[in-house]
Symmetry: C2
Subunit: 301 residues, 2 copies
Amino acid sequence: MKLTVLGCYAATPRTLTNPTSQLFEIKNQMFLIDCGEGTQVQLRKHKIKFSRINHIFISHLHGDHLYGLIGLISTFTLLNRVNDLHVYGPKGIKEIILLQLKASASYTSYNLYFHELESKESELIYEDDHVTVRTIPLAHRIYTNGYLFREKNSQRKINIDEVKKYDIDVCYYQKIKNGGDVVLEDGTVVDNKLLTFNPEPEKSYAFCSDTVFNPGMVPLIKNVDVLYHESTFLESEAHLAERTMHSTAIQAATIAKEAEVKHLVLGHYSTRYASIDAFKEEAEAIFPNVLLADDGISFDF
Amino acid sequence: MKLTVLGCYAATPRTLTNPTSQLFEIKNQMFLIDCGEGTQVQLRKHKIKFSRINHIFISHLHGDHLYGLIGLISTFTLLNRVNDLHVYGPKGIKEIILLQLKASASYTSYNLYFHELESKESELIYEDDHVTVRTIPLAHRIYTNGYLFREKNSQRKINIDEVKKYDIDVCYYQKIKNGGDVVLEDGTVVDNKLLTFNPEPEKSYAFCSDTVFNPGMVPLIKNVDVLYHESTFLESEAHLAERTMHSTAIQAATIAKEAEVKHLVLGHYSTRYASIDAFKEEAEAIFPNVLLADDGISFDF
């Protein structure tokens, strides 16, 4: 599970900071989360193969999370993309993108699917053999969702030494991984537990930006491995957090603590602060495992 | 008259090159021409005061000339802009911008005026005391205009030594600048030519991008001081220029020669070329005064 932060600053792109976009890799799948202006340049800078991005999740329709999407979609066509592209985001996103494609008479070289969201309840919006993605309804000035990525029940891991000891044919391996016992030729039943190790625990990642302090989300993100929670402001600007429906570092840490997550990653910093160190200091007073996102940083979990 | 090239490469923004945007300054007015993705970051990089930009001219609705506009308009609001902003561009531009502002529930802090264009004839679209702007209809895959900026008839310049010799009161100076003769108290008429120098010649700048080779534009840009003409391709890709309705360096130079302009500035280079030097070489075989635009370069004329 790998998180690459392409941009994690609030509001406007600047010479040295970028608005929100993240690449999240899990089970060899690559998901792009949010797409502020300049995201395609950040992808190039970090040498991400554009063709590996097949699913893009947009949290909400504020510019610092969205305005790079039309350019990325257009660039995919200029690169002669053929793979389907799926975009998940608030209702209205399809009209915004299609209006611009139509005005430029530039249709995509690939199938472009929109999955528009409008529910205020958490929904399962993506599922494959290895991963599920659910929405996390957030409370912001406009309709906003976080996204919860979770590995699916892993198969048991074969204990190859034991399996060879019993001279079990390779055709039974999938059955063993699925938890089945094996009947040998002499009728002996070998318990699955003797042949396997426990599966790796299912990993999970919750992306929560933008949102006001909202303990209502805690049950949805309980015990996740990694929580990215916006912290636009420090405590000294708590009044601005409330007014603009953003969070402080302390509020993000409070959510992390209540949800008993393993790691909290902070981001979406207001550009008013000369340094982001104080975000970590303030959050650590509440919750111990705090990491600071920054543009270009990758985390392996 | 100063031209600052913020971006001059075709198609997609990359780590080291930017799509089209230029700042053109004349008579202390600042005009932004085109606004590809990342333009606001280029403006910051070159320390341009955002509040000095009151007029933005968009040539056409392809992304590499447009996709930075919504972000710039949004950032103006975040910076609490109060001055009116005027956007000139093809019909459809207003709907594109307003749809996105509406979706983000982010209205502007200032008056935003759209001047939508749909004529296929050259039109006067801007005029103040010092400058006029006319459209230059271009031939591209979608409706496209170049823009012709021209100083207005300058006033004559007072020859202060002569004026003092005749002991002419300061209240006559404006009349003299406007070309009027002066009647002295003894009834003598002093010819304006004795009191003034000829005005500076009216300077002019023609921005022509994107366009296929189109000699039809020559009468509109005859004798301009500076012609920026797109040259997406070298001669070896002339077939691509024709197919995509772009120009080669030689075609740009041919227009410059026929229009008898003073300087030709090339730009809108395809990103397929490792170096842009060959554009100058090919163009100079046709027309002598060739300058190469590049991101971040300024020209004073």
